[in-house]
Amino acid sequence: MALNNLLKQNKDTIVKKWLTSTIDIYPADTSRFMKGQKDPFANPVGNTLSVNLGPLFDELLNEMDCKAITSYLDPILRVRAVQPILSSSQSTGFIFLLKNAIRESLKKELSDKNILKELLYFESKIDELTLIAFDIYLKCREKVFGIKANEERNRTFRAFERAGLLTEIPADGPGL
């Protein structure tokens, strides 16, 4: 568990790198704003990332509680599911950027074979996290499609109603 200790010790640096590279997926002007604006109400997208990446990292170090992971991942993916400026792969693939952040932060330590072995195991956890992210992302997209479909259905219904083509069954009408 030497790697786990190293990751714990270097958590701040690693999470910061992960956060920076995740924000840098956005165009330069946007990422500059997201990094600079600290007010959570003025910058909900940046804030969602900065609040949730740290706890996600902790989950990777621990037991990977699915419920907790979902609660941290959902807000991030919910935002990305309505941002067509990012592709689906960019939206979910930011988790892979954690691998780079760890490799860059622990360059020296990773020359140790045993630590490297542990890293391979740890990286498979990151892969797993990405798959969970994919599921959540897809659920959010389905929700968006559901909302669109619902609006269309309501509009059609109202058009029929306006045209006098619908009759409601009276509540006090005769039973069958």
Partner: protein, 553 residues
């Protein structure tokens, strides 16, 4: 996505965005971020130029051959006619104060949604065509040539602005960026480049008096249906009057509230209030089946179209011989009225300066337009104890208030809605300061963008608003978002459904009439939505004693 080639797919997995400046970053028209093109029939109905079938995703937009000339001439004409447009083109120093204030920029992450860049889309052409520096120095002076790509960029981004004016609050020069968008849209309309969600409601309004295209008899049918509903829940039969000559007041409200939940409950709220005022004070308020629309999507098309749709308000008030006009809970209607109506179609000398006949209050702010906001009217009634209210009937609700952009920034109405809510509800919680009042965040669907095909735009643009609602939901258990705009009432439910599903949406007059004790009412057990009204006897004593209206405080 299905049409992407393998190499394009790989490019989409690239984690390094383009480093180019906005002018050199090509615009990609993305699904979910735009509304469908205007139907030719609707454009033709209004007599606007170049009605045709076209698709924003196609390369060929079927433009007239001399489209460039039309745009440049159109710009020239407007620079001469509208002093503000000329000033807004000239005075920006690109300080960036507005850059991060737009909900669409914050939510979509697209830098071309920064208000300064949106304005630069137009300014760059202005400099190129109308300024010496631009003509000589070109790019160095921030100028560029008008090309087909530029025109498409205009269309894409001027229909990603909801004209909410939050950015203009922060501009040290007071540039009203919404008016830049308006000019952009006017120019696009010269080429028939409107969106259908605007063009068809405008055509409907022009032909039948409202955006939904509701015929007068159907309008009456709907209100009669509401009267049945009201009778079911309150035991009181209300009798709205239509087109009544010689009534005291003409009431005008958005047609959206007549046809879509939860706006329908607000419409029922108006009907109950008018019934109450008739019974108690003999006030005669009439509805018009011809002036059956408060909203004005003409505002999102062009100055001339807005004027054409607006005139019916005064025309109908004149025909009916009322004293003044009362306006319902609407958003952009109030911008059109407060800022444009008086100079477009006024002065309405044939109407009286509005005075509340029940309280004697003079509505000085409406002296010229002759049109009073219903929330202001109700606040005045409450202030003078003219309404008998039992706020505990709303005790199942923990309410927050979304300042709708136009009543807030377009007419400066901040305190009246809060005053009314606090008098009819016991549980009210504000969202954080930089998300309310003059800094309020838009619903993300204003200015005619409330279609369903642009849902990603609406949900991302509405994120800053939803984020603040989520905060009060988690902190105080807020379960109801009140607003005073029909578009809000139509679009906030899906927005909440996506971001904060625990929260529902209401108009203020639904809350008012929940609390209103109507003469002759049966014992109320359910509200207008058919939901159980909290029973005082069953209330947790601790909660009862901590309520603001507890007399022992």
């Amino acid at each position: 996505m299905a049409d992407l080639k393998p190499d394009e797919l790989i490019a989409r997995t690239n984690f390094t965005p383009p480093k180019t400046g906005w002018m050199d970053t090509p615009t990609v028209i993305r699904e979910g971020m735009f509304c469908y093109a205007a139907k030719p029939k609707s454009v033709a109905t209004l007599g606007l130029p170049y009605p045709r079938e076209w698709n924003p995703l196609n390369d060929d937009w079927k433009l007239p051959e001399n489209w460039k000339e039309i745009i440049i001439e159109g710009m020239k004409d407007r620079l001469e006619r509208f002093r503000t447009f000329k000033i807004f083109m000239d005075i920006c120093v690109r300080c960036g104060a507005c850059a991060d204030k737009c909900h669409f920029f914050i939510g979509t992450g697209d830098p071309k949604n920064m208000p300064v860049v949106r304005a630069e889309l137009l300014r760059s052409i202005y400099r190129n065509e109308f300024t010496k520096a631009g003509k000589i120095l070109g790019r160095i002076a921030g100028a560029r040539e008008l090309t087909l790509d530029v025109l498409k960029e205009w269309w894409y981004y001027f229909f990603q602005c909801s004209e909410c004016r939050r950015c203009s609050v922060f501009c040290p020069y007071g540039i009203d960026t919404a008016e830049i968008t308006m000019m952009g849209r006017e120019l696009l309309n010269l080429l028939g480049l409107n969106i259908d969600w605007i063009a068809t409601p405008v055509a409907n309004c022009y032909m039948t008096g409202n955006h939904m295209g509701i015929q007068p008899q159907a309008f009456v049918d709907m209100l009669d249906f509401f009267a049945d509903e009201i009778e079911d829940t309150t035991g009181v039969r209300v009798h709205p009057t239509y087109n009544k000559k010689g009534a005291d007041i003409l009431f005008t409200t958005p047609s959206g509230d007549v046809f879509g939940d939860p706006g329908t409950y607000t419409a029922m709220g108006y009907m109950i209030l008018f019934h109450y005022l008739k019974e108690r004070y003999g006030l005669d308020v009439t509805w018009s089946t011809f002036n059956s629309e408060g909203g004005n999507f003409g505002l999102f098309t062009s100055n001339e179209v807005m004027k054409r749709l607006n005139i019916k308000m005064y025309a109908e008030a004149k025909r009916l011989g009322v004293k003044w006009i009362l306006g319902g809970e609407c958003g952009h209607m109030w911008r059109a009225i407060t800022q444009y109506m008086d100079t477009m179609n006024g002065p309405a000398d044939f109407l009286e300066e509005p005075v509340n006949p029940i309280t004697g209050t003079k509505f000085e702010n409406a002296k010229s337009t002759k049109m009073v906001h219903i929330v202001e009217f109700t606040a005045d009634l409450i202030k003078h104890n003219k309404l008998e209210l039992d706020p505990s009937r709303n005790d199942n609700l923990k309410v927050t208030f979304h300042d709708s952009c136009n009543p807030a920034r377009g007419m400066g109405m901040f305190d009246e809605p809060r005053y009314v809510i606090k008098n009819v509800c016991n549980n009210f919680y504000e969202m954080p300061r930089n998300c309310i009042r003059e800094q309020t965040f838009c619903c993300g669907s204003g200015s005619g963008l409330n279609a369903s095909e642009d849902m990603e735009l609406r949900l991302s643009g509405g994120l800053p608003r939803a984020n603040a609602v989520k905060y009060v939901q988690e902190k105080h258990g807020v379960n109801m978002l009140a607003c005073i705009c029909a578009i809000d009432r139509a679009v906030l439910p899906p927005l909440m459904g996506y971001w904060v599903p625990e929260v529902d949406v209401t108009g203020i007059h639904e809350l008012v009439t929940n609390a209103l004790i109507i003469p002759g009412e049966q014992e109320k057990t359910v509200n207008l939505r058919g939901e159980d009204i909290p029973n005082k006897d069953e209330m947790d004593p601790d909660e009862y004693y901590t309520r603001p209206d507890f007399s022992g405080r």
